[in-house]
Symmetry: none
Subunit: 210 residues, 4 copies
DNA sequence: GACTAAACGAGACGGTACGTCGAGTCTTTGT
DNA sequence: ACAAAGACTCGACGTACCGTCTCGTTTAGTC
């Protein structure tokens, strides 16, 4: 079992406890991926992490906090945002990057959480949305720059375009359970660009005035 | 002497059991919608259905079978497929119909199951895919007729088009937790049509040769 | 809606009931002997009697009444009281008869009830005592006749003598779980006679004045 | 049941468990005395012991083992064996001691088990016999000494004599449900002595050669 | 010999207790 | 002094049997 990427180090003055901390979070994610949120057992996590149950409860108040923590850790994982000033290439690269990440162990874990009752936990839901908003927020300037360069119509909503791009990918993963490849990403990118150039993805269309 | 009743088959004098059956399935779906699969309690279901716990176990072997049964029941629900020979209007109507269904209690229940650990149960996963395949399968001829009428490019893959249509809707419901309205459906329909007319949604693009 | 009929309003004695009645009581005793009172199952009794559970509940209000009824039936079984005007021979015969009866199926059933929680049921306890009192009451005149004939000391309490006779037999069956044979009965008879002739078994000795 | 006394190595750092252990056994005996084996409820035992049901199941595999353990504990209770070198006085004292013990809470519990379906449990049956054999085994030397001193006939079987002594007491308790007093014990002692002095209680009479 | 009403077969149901599993708390002990 | 070990409370699981209920189906006694 490979440990999850360390991510931003959390300065806990616990000494060697940090090792335990990471082991438990990694074990939690592994169990989450394998058995889902229902069926998640603190005792199994403890066993897999080579740690006693009480040790877990000393650090996390309950199962929800533990899962939340593990997922938040995950949501911090970054996806590089391509920016080559060629919006067609950039969107294709963005889509392929997303597909690659979703097929990686980390991405699988995130998907497992998305399609799980764990997503009902408020903190997890927040982390989930933060993850998406963060990515879209970081990619939006690239799209906006393309608009400013005239590669896309004025008024194009970067968020709407990006969502149009990623939607087919998640549909296949979460709903129809079809395999997702780079072809899927490429088609999605083309569709999104075509729609944008047809002037369909303006903010008004997606966020009507209240 | 009385002749023996004809045939070895014994008709079941099903008493009032049918009423109980329905009440339990309804209660199961309600609980599933409210609390998710984890946190689902047979005792709560029994209480809500006004039935005793053992009665439930008499009809369903365990919690999984119960949930499976409830969801399969659900998956049988049909969505009318519009067919006015105007593909633009039909797709918009299809999208709006889907949105309306997803906002109904039944749709909410289906969504709750989709985004739940219940989907890990093999039978539930099968039911889930059957639901989608069935709908797409029933809508595909309408799209194909439009192709035949020349309203869409030759070679357009009906399934790919329909998936492009529904993807943004599910993305908002399952991932970004944004509200979904008829506007969402309309935009999605336009995007899908535009992409199709750009020749992006051919079968080849989605199912590349091995 | 009572149809008027001539004579007393006596329900029609529709009659295969008696057969069922006996079958159930027999099955009850068999189960009682095999598995004891704890572990007694109405459903098993029904199965053994070739009868449906509800049929049993139609005739007996609950398990206790059923067991009570079965045992009371049993307690009515009679043991012949020897009377040859030779008290030594009679007591020996009485002891041997008791041993034989206790080793018979009926006796085994009675023992099973004696050493069972069924004896806590008031009606069963009464039946149990009635059984013993009845036997001792029927044998007492024989002993009293021996006293009158001068074969035993004046003042000898027949009940005390008979109890002294049967006590070792029941001790072996109920407490020490030793086998009981005719030798046991013979020794017990001799002991009882010796004690009586020593003047130890007068009523006063057992029922001291208050 | 007492844990093994601590040796050089302590494999079990038993917590406060010992207190719970005793409380549960005591509650088991109390319930057993009050309601018998049938009708014995683990949940009631737990409630009475101020302990949770699962705690009981952690220590005892099932109800049978629990009852067995409680009774075995009981069977360890000792009865002092009088030895004044006056066999008449000693037997009377033995009888009175037995009566006193049987009227005590401990004795009542033992009787409750004797006359219960719990006695069908193999381990309980063994414990029961061990209890009796142990007591008779410890009293036998006193009787044998009396034989050696010439107070009883040569060849007298101590076990046979002692059983003759205790038989009427158990008969009254288990069968006829009469009250048992010291008078009962005194008479029984006299009867046993008289029988022994008449040469009736030799081993041969009770244990015929196979 | 047909009618009719009691008795029976069948089985679902509410309910109690079983024995099991896991969550989360608390206590004892070793170092 | 403090953390590991594990015993404890609590709640739900899925099972067995109790005793009740309501249907239909014999079956025996009367007409």
């Amino acid at each position: 079992m490979q440990p999850v990427s360390a991510g931003p180090s959390r300065p806990r003055p616990v000494g060697r406890g940090a090792k335990v901390h990471r082991a438990v979070l990694a074990a939690t994610l592994a169990e989450l991926t394998e058995t889902g949120y229902a069926g998640l057992t603190v005792e199994n996590i403890a066993k897999r992490a080579g740690v006693h149950k009480t040790t877990i409860y000393r650090r996390w108040q309950d199962r929800e906090r533990l899962v939340t923590d593990a997922v938040i850790d995950l949501a911090a994982s970054t996806l590089p945002i391509p920016d080559s000033h060629d919006i067609d290439a950039d969107l294709r690269a963005f889509g392929r990057g997303l597909v690659g990440w979703l097929n990686s162990p980390t991405g699988q874990a995130v998907l497992a959480v998305l399609a799980s009752d764990a997503a009902r936990l408020p903190q997890v839901a927040k982390a989930k949305q933060r993850l998406f908003n963060d990515r879209i927020g970081r990619a939006a300037p690239v799209v906006q720059a393309a608009v400013d360069r005239g590669q896309l119509p004025v008024g194009t909503d970067p968020a709407a375009l990006l969502k149009t791009l990623i939607a087919p990918i998640y549909l296949r993963l979460l709903v129809t359970a079809e395999p997702v490849t780079e072809t899927t990403a490429d088609t999605a990118a083309q569709v999104a660009l075509t729609a944008a150039r047809a002037g369909l993805l303006t903010g008004a269309a997606h966020q009507p005035a209240p």
